[in-house]
Symmetry: C2
Subunit: 368 residues, 2 copies
């Protein structure tokens, strides 16, 4: 597969860590929320095995925050998501599908309730801040919507717990999954959440002061030597096996949250008020005809740059949206949107990769 | 400057022309509206001189359309822009700064009035569709907001007129600047506007059927041989010299439309209704303290990947946002946001490129 350079510019924003990861050997970027997000340090498979055994520090500043403050902030956040946030607690993270009035899925951020009247939405790749501004203007809500200069560092992998304890102190071991709290390092306070875009465990540090964040970045590598720390990034193999969905890759606004498998984050029963509720009630009554599933394909490489149609007996039964070779399963693993007729997982799937015909088997998510 | 690959995925959408430009030698992409936008075919300067003399065909499918239809469509479009569209005519294009309630500039699309109740906003790089959806939901407007599968081909350069006449017929020569109309090619109708992201003249073809567009693409190269046609893309040198502003590069939501020099597209006098009007009235009364200007720097190369601070006597007087070497002017040309104290164009400007100190001179836009 031919490779192409990225033409950098101010519009594709650098992060406070860009200089560091470039001197540490990043080779490829993707663009995420108009910002550079590292995609590889040269060997995806090595990075995969390393992530599953040791600890990595990731520049995920591209997970931008929409900050919503003011007396109507909770109302606005609720209007955008089908998840019931009426009992949300300060200090907790919530995975919140953002939907439009037709029930299309616009994003799947993690919402952090910082205060009774202060929220962050830690975004996947779309300008949810503009959606929020539109609603707020339309309804004349008492809110302020900004993109604060928050630049997340993720510390991921089984040894992330030891490393973070060493750097930030013992108290951090008490933090529960999807909780967040403040921890000090060299006189600066950092908001740290136990979260991240891998299933290998770890933390996300919501860095609010650039220079303090850079010092923390450097310290994580100094202190991390004994844990074989390496720079890294969300790993395509790991995230597909773990079914950590990627907005824009695995789903988009043409898919509703039921089709994405977000059922447990959808509330159509209570009296909460959000745009798209009527649409979701209708969908929940009628049922869905497609959903995301895993797929295993007996080939040893693939590069998905757009939807790849999936067939059974020359009839399209779905489309493949993300896939990569898994050195663990020794085959290609993927995430695909699949029509109802194939949900039994018994239907053989055919697809064409270039000129080559291949066969696949469907499975549930997560794959491994 | 180190180069980095782009990690392709479904999320960074390909266009109907991607296969073609990749076999024609594209070397670099940028990402624009979550889509691949070619940035170079290997030699920016050669492409610059070619564009100014001959004709190029550009894959600018990344200029995505927000389609707004329904009885409140004109109301919604007006709510988003400070330009008075009350007398807008079907068949005309309008450059419309999109602003938020604080008067920040969110985008600068070209609006096409397709019908009394049908508009397209041909976007720069931000999800204005989400802003529109938010407003529409907030105000319960009778509109439908979609992203149609429109993939623009631009034909740019002085010989574009001859080439388009040869392919689409004599009638196209009657099309005025920023007008649009429909023209036939091999049984398919194409919406063609006299517009484009260069000042060298030309057209944008709003392709609504992928395969028909691919056939047109191929024909433009066959018919274009006698005009030395080449594949191309918006050219950094040409666009900076011509001061074709780039949203996200030259301005963002922290800048108001007065600071961007959009004065003639701002209406604070009439009774039109848009979000941000109150803010703009206040700004117009108080005056602005920074604005976009041109800058000339006596060096022979530069790569701007983030704002570069500009100094006078060790005091920051602005920041450089886009710049490139102009083989025409034999110096670096740039677009910078400049504080009022330097608007006289006499203040010498200092900046650091890497470790090197350089000097610059301010000028009006466009530069050349």
């Amino acid at each position: 597969m031919k490779k192409f350079y990225i033409a950098k510019s101010r519009r594709l924003r650098s992060t406070p860590y860009t200089n560091r990861i470039e001197s540490q050997g990043v080779t490829a970027y993707t663009i995420y929320n108009h910002m550079l997000l590292p995609a590889s340090f040269g060997n995806l498979e090595k990075e995969y095995f390393h992530l599953k055994e040791h600890v990595q520090v990731w520049d995920v500043a591209a997970e931008r925050q929409v900050q919503i403050t003011g007396k109507d902030s909770s109302k606005l956040v609720q209007l955008m998501t089908c998840r019931n946030l009426s009992k949300a607690k300060v200090g907790r993270c919530y995975y919140v599908p953002i939907i439009d009035e037709e029930g299309g899925t616009l994003n799947d951020p993690v919402a952090l309730k910082l205060d009774e009247n202060k929220w962050w939405l830690s975004l996947a790749d779309s300008d949810v801040g503009l959606y929020a501004k539109g609603i707020a203007s339309g309804l004349s809500l008492q809110v302020e919507i900004t993109e604060p200069d928050v630049n997340i560092l993720a510390v991921q992998g089984p040894k992330s717990f030891k490393l973070m304890e060493k750097v930030l102190g013992k108290k951090i071991t008490e933090l529960n999954f999807f909780g967040f709290d403040y921890y000090s390092f060299k006189g600066n306070k950092f908001l740290v959440a136990r979260s991240g875009w891998s299933k290998q465990g770890g933390y996300e540090v919501y860095v609010e002061k650039r220079e303090a964040g850079q010092r923390l970045y450097d310290e994580l590598f100094t202190a991390g030597k004994e844990f074989q720390v390496k720079p890294g990034c969300p790993n395509l193999i790991e995230r597909i096996e773990s079914a950590l969905l990627s907005a824009g890759n695995d789903f988009d606004s043409e898919d509703n949250p039921y089709e994405c498998g977000f059922d447990k984050y959808i509330d159509t029963e209570s009296d909460i008020n959000y745009f798209g509720k009527k649409a979701l009630i209708k969908i929940s009554k009628e049922g869905i005809n497609k959903k995301l599933m895993g797929i295993l394909i007996n080939i040893d490489k693939i590069e998905v740059t757009e939807s790849i149609p999936l067939y059974n007996n020359n009839k399209i039964v779905g489309d493949l949206r993300s896939a990569t070779y898994s050195p663990n399963l020794k085959k290609v693993v993927g995430i695909a949107m699949i029509k109802k007729e194939c949900w039994d997982k018994k239907t053989p799937i055919e697809l064409k990769i270039g000129d080559k015909k291949c066969k696949g088997t469907l499975c549930d998510l997560p794959i491994a």
